[in-house]
């Protein structure tokens, strides 16, 4: 692809807590639809974004069962952007900070996620066309 770009994103927010996660995944999705190569370095609570044990739940307050509630799961978003990028000729290299994973026990992830260190973020940033750090508040 002539206009193929490589973008790196650093994410720091844990899932289910902040709109930054949604915006970050929207940005990654746009890049994936363009077939860009995408690097994601998940730091701190963001290592839970691809956590495999996330489960949908019912909402008794609203009277919804699991299906009706259809609660969104970030691990599915991660899987979706990995697949979308591949479909369009790009790829997502998603690296979870290993120390952050160990601290939180967030070892089990969806496919396409690997373990790394902040050194990987440096390598990603230096080999990318651009980098966006979406820090916690």
């Amino acid at each position: 692809m002539k206009d193929k770009k490589t973008l790196t994103f650093m994410l720091m927010d844990a899932p289910f807590e902040n709109a930054r996660t949604t915006t970050a995944m929207r940005l990654i999705d746009i890049a994936a639809r363009r077939g860009y190569d995408i690097n994601v370095f998940a730091y701190e609570g963001a290592v839970y974004l691809p956590f495999a044990a996330q489960k949908q739940h019912a909402n008794a307050v609203h009277g919804h069962d699991v299906v009706q509630e259809d609660h969104p799961l970030p691990r599915e978003w991660v899987e979706a952007v990995v697949q979308e990028a591949a479909k369009n000729g790009g790829r997502v290299d998603w690296v979870n900070c290993g120390l952050c994973v160990d601290e939180r026990g967030a070892v089990d992830t969806v496919a396409g996620v690997r373990r790394g260190s902040p050194a990987d973020f440096w390598k990603m940033a230096t080999s990318s066309d651009n980098t966006l750090v979406i820090a916690t508040k």
């Binding site: 709109a19 940005l27 746009i30 066309d129 651009n130 966006l132």
Partner: protein, 108 residues
């Protein structure tokens, strides 16, 4: 001249840092750089007329391109015709465009 993309995600009522971020945008622009301020999430709230809109309106009138994420506006029920003069609705694709183009990007 350097191209800057400054992304503001915070509401000035929620974070006093927003004013400092806008001062930074103003300073970069006055130094001869091309600056785009992209408002997203609750960062779009001062794009309407309001008590915390003056600083944003001044930026938009002084050479800073001020864009507001159309999805964030829609989520908050803010129609494009309620935006301050000089503030334009734009899709989030704009951010990816600018990143791909090599803008120096800063998220707040």
């Amino acid at each position: 001249m350097t191209d800057y993309l400054m992304i503001e995600s915070r509401d000035p009522f929620d974070s006093g840092d927003v004013a400092n971020f806008l001062v930074l945008a103003e300073g970069l622009s006055k130094a001869g750089n091309r600056v785009t301020l992209f408002l997203v999430q609750n960062g779009v709230l001062p794009a309407r007329h309001g008590v915390r809109s003056a600083q944003l309106a001044a930026l938009a009138g002084n050479g800073v391109e001020v864009l507001a994420d159309s999805f964030s506006l829609q989520e908050r029920g803010i129609s494009a015709n309620r935006l301050l003069p000089g503030v334009k609705a734009a899709p989030l694709e704009t951010v990816v465009d600018r990143l791909a183009g090599g803008c120096k990007a800063l998220w707040h």
